[in-house]
């Protein structure tokens, strides 16, 4: 009887898991293994496959385009992630104030985040376009920019980065804002009341109560934003195309062009592992941080 039940459970259990298991194995796990195999070859889609060992890995260490693309992604992440964290915190504080507009504010701040990268980038591109774009028009109308001058947002490297970062903060700040908001709402109101009674000013409350209580959330948000920023591709590809002169090309775009425009799959797969390792390390750090945060919560 017991044996029978065990066997039945094994069959039924596997029966339930199997469809998910198959898709997960083929499309999530297998590509990781297949990628290693591909990266040891000169591999083009038209069937030319030649084993070349570690050549692809040696090659990108000397590839100036690779180094610059990795540099762009890194520099973008180190600038955009902290900006996103600070903006998320400020917006969450706004949306957490006891005013009637609370829900409206939350909806407005998160609204851009539900748009696809195409819609968000497409809108941004048209807004930043010189001569006819909204942004220069706005700057003209408030007299910040003289009427005869145009800011070439998409054709000057520094301005292009500024446009990309402004758009990224606008488009993605909603998610970390919500994480901060739920952390703020978990702070019991008695704490504020007790502090007020003790004569703590609003500023003192912020710096000695609220921010320390938000520490675990801040760690989590910083890591999540860094991970998200290292995956940057869509908005840059659509707003500047990686230009001017490849000066804003991120790593994923270089991998994409190597694989699909130059048909060099092996080299692209090898470069992907640099990104893979960076992201896995960041994710591992994030998990450790999270476990620590969970432990702190229990105490």
């Amino acid at each position: 009887m017991n044996k029978k039940i065990k066997r039945k459970n094994l069959l039924v259990g596997w029966g339930f898991v199997l469809p998910f298991f198959i898709l997960y194995t083929i499309f999530t796990i297998w590509p990781v293994i297949q990628g290693i195999y591909v990266s040891f070859h000169k591999w083009s889609l038209m069937g030319k496959v030649k084993f070349i060992g570690l050549d692809n890995y040696v090659r990108f260490l000397e590839d100036k385009k690779f180094i610059s693309a990795l540099g762009h992604t890194t520099w973008f992440s180190l600038i955009a992630a902290p900006l996103l964290v600070i903006a998320a915190l400020i917006l969450a504080m706004f949306a957490n104030r006891p005013v009637k507009l609370k829900r409206g504010l939350r909806i407005c701040f998160y609204l851009p985040s539900v748009l696809s990268v195409s819609v968000a980038s497409f809108t941004a591109k048209y807004m930043f376009t010189p001569y006819r774009g909204f942004i220069n028009g706005f700057l003209h109308s408030i007299k910040v920019l003289p009427a005869n001058r145009e800011l070439q947002w998409l054709n000057e490297t520094n301005l292009a980065w500024a446009a990309i970062i402004i758009m990224t903060v606008w488009w993605t700040v909603g998610f970390p804002m919500l994480l901060y908001l739920s952390a703020l709402q978990d702070i019991p109101p008695q704490i504020y009341e007790a502090a007020s009674i003790d004569g703590a000013t609003k500023r003192q409350q912020l710096f000695s109560i609220v921010l320390p209580l938000l520490k675990p959330t801040t760690y989590l948000v910083v890591m999540l934003q860094l991970i998200a920023c290292f995956k940057v591709f869509g908005q840059i590809y659509m707003i500047t195309g990686g230009g001017p002169a490849s000066n804003t090309r991120p790593l994923i775009q270089y991998i994409y062009e190597t694989a699909f425009k130059k048909n060099n799959m092996g080299y692209a797969a090898a470069m992907s592992y640099v990104l893979f390792i960076i992201l896995v390390v960041l994710t591992a750090i994030q998990r450790v941080v999270e476990k620590k945060g969970a432990k702190a919560d229990e105490i």
Partner: protein, 277 residues
């Protein structure tokens, strides 16, 4: 409490600043919407001209009828719906077995599914393409749908929810001779409406907005989804903005409506995922 806050000038300034921020956040979307409602060829001299009437809805039928946009819209809807249905059913079935059926190797299996959290899809996109190509899935609907179905995150959310369902209830059905499928469809699924609808909303929006994979997987314009098709509308600086912004809005409006309707659930879902990472 509230009335006191209103009289406080500092608090009023903060409210004014937060409303300003909110306006800044929705301006690009409102601008895009306003442009899509303008007549083509309108002279724009100042920024307010973008927003002023006369408005017309004519651009929408003009663009939808007799252009590829219709096809992309239908592709987006079809792919998002099918992806969502399969994601929910397959993830829920697997999660049920992992949470409620005791069988050999269940823990190892769960660990195996957890590994997916560590795999960044962006970094395996090249071998994924080669794999899909090996199965002849490139430029097919199956290729656009299948890779996004089995995700670790949805599975974990469901497993943790199913674990909280009372075993006695399931045992009672088993003693009455009900099979696992009966339990799953008649008891577990109806009790899990909240978690299922959260997974539904997120996988629908995720599929609707998906960019990198459809960019690689769709070769012919007949297989494009809106996110892939719309940037092909990007004209030069001299072209009228009306048509591109109309296409833009056709892609944006459905998710904005879904978001407004399910806003509370989305916020709760995100707070939940934030706790679980």
């Amino acid at each position: 409490m509230k009335s006191k806050a209103k009289r406080n000038p500092g608090s009023f300034i903060l409210s004014a600043v937060s409303v300003m921020m909110a306006i800044i956040f929705i301006t690009p979307i409102l601008w895009s919407l306003a442009v899509s409602l303008q007549k083509e060829g309108k002279q724009i001299t100042g920024i307010l001209d973008w927003f002023t009437p006369p408005y017309t809805l004519k651009n929408y039928p003009d663009l939808i009828i007799g252009s590829d946009v219709t096809r992309w819209l239908l592709n987006s809807i079809f792919i998002a719906v099918i992806t969502t249905v399969f994601t929910v059913i397959l993830s829920a079935m697997a999660a049920y077995a992992l949470a409620k059926i005791k069988f050999k190797g269940v823990n190892a299996l769960y660990f195996y599914f957890l590994l997916g959290l560590m795999v960044p899809g962006e970094a395996t996109i090249v071998p994924l393409f080669i794999t899909a190509n090996g199965f002849n899935l490139i430029d097919t609907y199956a290729g656009l749908i299948l890779p996004s179905i089995a995700g670790s995150m949805n599975l974990i959310i469901m497993v943790s929810f199913f674990k909280s369902l009372p075993n006695e209830l399931l045992e009672a059905v088993r003693i009455d001779g009900g099979g696992e499928l009966t339990i799953f469809f008649k008891i577990v699924m109806p009790l899990s409406k909240a978690v299922i609808s959260t997974v539904c909303i997120f996988s629908f929006i995720g599929s609707w907005n998906n960019y990198l994979w459809p960019l690689l997987c769709s070769m012919s314009s007949s297989k494009f989804t809106l996110p892939i098709g719309i940037p092909t509308f990007a004209g030069t600086y001299t072209v009228d903005y009306v048509k591109p912004m109309t296409a833009n809005m056709i892609a944006a409006v459905p998710v904005i409506i879904i978001y407004i309707i399910f806003e509370r659930q989305i916020v709760e879902g995100i707070s939940m995922s934030g706790v679980k990472g």
